[in-house]
């Protein structure tokens, strides 16, 4: 087996595991789990919505860690990690918003409300789309990496503050609304619902790490290209 193929093996195993767990998750979410007593079939969207947002938060935490490490040690791989995690984080955050909106239409009757959760997720998306834009709009790769790292840290630090401010805005002296989106989406939790959620959560995690590993490899390869091009020019 060539060197490259050997390196790819754990990635491939991860991919297969991810695929299997996604399939299992789909089965449990769509077939095995019963419909919710109040929300009906639409509640099934929660089986991907909750793992989505949790994965997105995980991703942005990784951006934060990667950014800190990069500023500290200036090793390229930390920057590649941060960039990769930001890209995939943006993907999952956007998906979370779409899922939340689609769930909202039959549940609340509207595609969008300014409730705390949706607003927060939208803000999260904006901050990390900004990260991607900043990285792509700065010419010098070294400066782009450093600027990105700083933004990654500052952005992450702001998240709890944004959280607090948006939640207070939506709950302090606001008349109790008929929409209670902060209520947990189920009351009587059937065990197979919990199982479905757990399996889908694992599936999303595996899928996330698979995508992350792929994206990191892409980043590393592109980095090698950049170095070789510089060497060639020298």
């Amino acid at each position: 087996m060539t060197e490259i193929e050997q390196k790819r093996r754990p990635g491939k195993i991860l991919g297969v595991l991810a695929l299997l767990s996604v399939a299992a998750g789909l089965y449990f979410a769509l077939i095995k789990a019963p419909p919710d007593a109040y929300q009906g079939e639409v509640q099934r969207i929660m089986y991907i919505h909750i793992p989505s947002i949790l994965t997105a938060y995980l991703s942005f935490f990784i951006v934060f860690v990667g950014s800190c490490l990069y500023l500290w040690k200036r090793e390229r791989r930390d920057d590649i990690l941060a960039y990769a995690a930001a890209e995939i984080g943006v993907l999952f955050t956007a998906l979370t918003i779409v899922e939340g909106s689609i769930w909202g239409k039959p549940t609340w009757g509207v595609w969008w409300t300014w409730d705390a959760r949706l607003t927060l997720t939208a803000l999260l998306l904006m901050i990390f789309v900004g990260y991607l834009m900043l990285r792509s709009l700065i010419e010098d790769p070294e400066r782009a990496a450093v600027s990105g790292a700083v933004l990654g840290i500052i952005g992450f630090l702001d998240i709890p503050l944004i959280h607090m401010s948006v939640y207070w805005w939506r709950t302090l002296h606001q008349p109790p609304s008929i929409l209670r989106p902060d209520k947990a989406p189920w009351d009587n939790v059937h065990p197979s619902m919990l199982i479905a959620l757990a399996i889908n959560f694992i599936a999303f995690l595996l899928l996330y790490f698979y995508l992350l590993s792929l994206r990191i490899r892409v980043g590393e390869t592109e980095e090698r290209i950049r170095t070789k091009t510089l060497e060639g020019a020298a």
Binding site: I48, L95, E99, L214, V218, G232
Partner: protein, 50 residues
């Protein structure tokens, strides 16, 4: 649109997006590898030349 309609819509969009991203990543990977081996072979011929 009935309740299942929303479910399919949500699941459909999510998995379509993930698959698209995956495909995009693989394509990017392929291009990068091609460029890398191109650079490597160029390096090889340069070395032979000098």
């Amino acid at each position: 649109m009935g309740p299942w309609g929303f479910v399919w819509l949500a699941y459909g969009i999510v998995w379509a997006a993930i698959v698209l991203y995956l495909v995009g990543l693989k394509s990017r990977m392929r291009k990068a590898h091609a460029r890398l081996s191109q650079l490597k072979s160029k390096e090889g011929t340069d070395k032979h030349a000098t």
